[in-house]
Amino acid sequence: MKASQINRGIDFLRDAGREASVIGWRFFDWLAVVEWRRLALTWLIVLVGFGMLNTPEPAVWFIFLSFGIKVLAGGKRKAELQAKEATLQANVATLERRLMEAKMAALQAQVEPHFLFNTLALIGQLIETNPPEAARVHAHLIDYLRSTLPQMRARDNGSLGKQVELSKAYLSIMQARMKERLKVKFEVPLFLHSAPFPPMMLQTLIENSIKHGLEPKIEGGTVNVRAFVVDTALHVEVCDDGVGIDLHADDGVGLANIRERLQLLYGAEAELVIAMPPGGGACATIRLPYKMMEEA
């Protein structure tokens, strides 16, 4: 009984000690970072408070002590605290950025090796037979890679105009390869070029159109890219007059990625719609909230 009472007493003292030290350090930290102006104000309040109680002595001690601590150790402590805070924030920012990058890297379409090797083979052969054409295709390939490889992707990629430009690079390469089998039509009004549009989505739709719609078709066909605004929604549509969609073919990573990214970026406000028009072929439409410009 007695022993337990003593123990309880010791526990209480230990708790009290811990609390006091925590409060002490808090006070210390506060002293370290508080501005001199506010500290002076605190001194005035303390002085007036204790003055009214007619015992100014503790107030004087408090002022004297806090002044001493602030002068002697405050600078160092303040730097320490700021450094800690900065590290924490930096860690969070880095983590967030890494996570975002990892997500985007996983979600974005990859450059297909088949496409890369075929294009390089084409350039290799054009160097001998048609050097100016080789230089053109080579320049288009660089543009295309710049837009596709995550580590090379420029920051200002997020406008519809930019995406159209990059898609044209890809289509020029494919036209050099498929010749008259591939025809291209763009109906994107100039005023929509500044509208924000996520990277790599338009390319994925165009690549799908060529790969699944037109390449398997012997006589080839046309890829038609259209952009228009309906109410408050921007519609970007990629249509082809190819072989259409095989009902038993998997819809592929490309489309699933677009859906997932739209969901991440816009929630229920955006949608990817695939349709087979009455005339044949396939149409893929991305619908998302229309804004004139990217927010700064």
């Binding site: 083979a121 052969q125 037979t129 498929m178 969609i245 009902l247 038993h248 998997d250 489309l255 149409c283």
Partner: protein
């Protein structure tokens, strides 16, 4: 050459610049070889190959209409096959193991010279011992075709239904099965529910059940087919019925007693 008459060849590639290059290279590496036909797709390759019966057929692997391998399976009894490809990992592996000839694109002069030298010896051997191994080549081609079907092709066709067609206005809306949350039969029609919209189709639940991947969709009720991946949780309501909560969907679906075994111990 050894037979007295010049050897003939066919070139098949869907990309015109590639045909031009191969023709130019062949003409300088093997001036005696007569290029009797050029095809821009697999169907044309078979047609021209059967008409001209060239000694050698240079076939691109990926061509519209028919793939180079499919075309080769029709042409190999009469023509020696040489595949041309820029990149086809699986095919290249198969070539390394087998006796089939191949060319890597873009075709360089040195590599073509080596291939031509090898072809000359092969053609000589073939002239001396005709029909030595077409059967073996047939088997190799069949293996290659199935290999490409399984791995090289964009996606293996599984045979299961992957797209649901719904009439919306004048156009046919294509709903990927990955978008579908569940199907529910509704008197005359079947309701297709996605995260964002709802469609009515004429296909019955029974037909869907037969055509869809049974791993992807489960029947949880006489009138309900649910996509397994869309299920968020299973809970019991106050009357003891099992209810499914779905991702991206507010409502709940009832699991009938007959199907409750699907969610035992989950």
């Amino acid at each position: 050459m050894n037979t007295g008459r010049p050897l003939t060849a066919l070139i098949a590639d869907d990309e015109a610049p590639m045909r031009d290059l191969l023709r130019a290279r062949l003409q300088s590496a093997w001036p005696d070889l007569q290029i009797v036909a050029e095809a821009a797709n697999g169907v044309e390759a078979v047609e021209l190959g059967e008409r001209h019966r060239p000694d050698i057929a240079f076939l691109d692997i990926r061509m519209p209409g028919l793939s180079g391998i499919e075309a080769a399976r029709r042409l190999y009894p009469h023509s020696h096959i040489v595949f041309a490809t820029a990149y086809d990992q699986y095919a290249l592996d198969a070539f390394e193991q087998g006796a089939l000839d191949y060319l890597l694109k873009p075709v360089t002069a040195e590599r073509l010279a080596t291939t031509c030298a090898r072809l000359r010896t092969r053609m000589q051997a073939r002239a001396q011992a005709p029909a030595d191994a077409p059967q073996d080549i047939g088997q190799q081609l069949a293996r290659l075709a199935s290999l490409l079907e399984n791995k090289g092709a964009p996606k293996p066709p599984t045979g299961y239904l992957r797209w649901i067609q719904a009439q919306v206005g004048s156009s046919l809306r294509m709903v990927s099965t990955r978008e579908v949350l569940f199907f529910q039969s509704d008197e005359k029609y079947t309701r297709v529910q996605t995260a964002t919209s709802e469609f009515l189709i004429r296909k019955t639940l029974k037909e869907l059940l037969d055509e869809l991947d049974p791993e992807e969709f489960w029947r949880v009720h006489r009138s309900t087919l649910v996509r397994v991946d869309a299920i968020a949780e299973v809970a019991r309501d106050s009357r003891g019925r099992q209810m499914l909560k779905l991702k991206n969907y507010a409502g709940e679906l009832e699991v009938s007693r007959n199907h409750s075994y699907l969610f035992q111990q989950m």
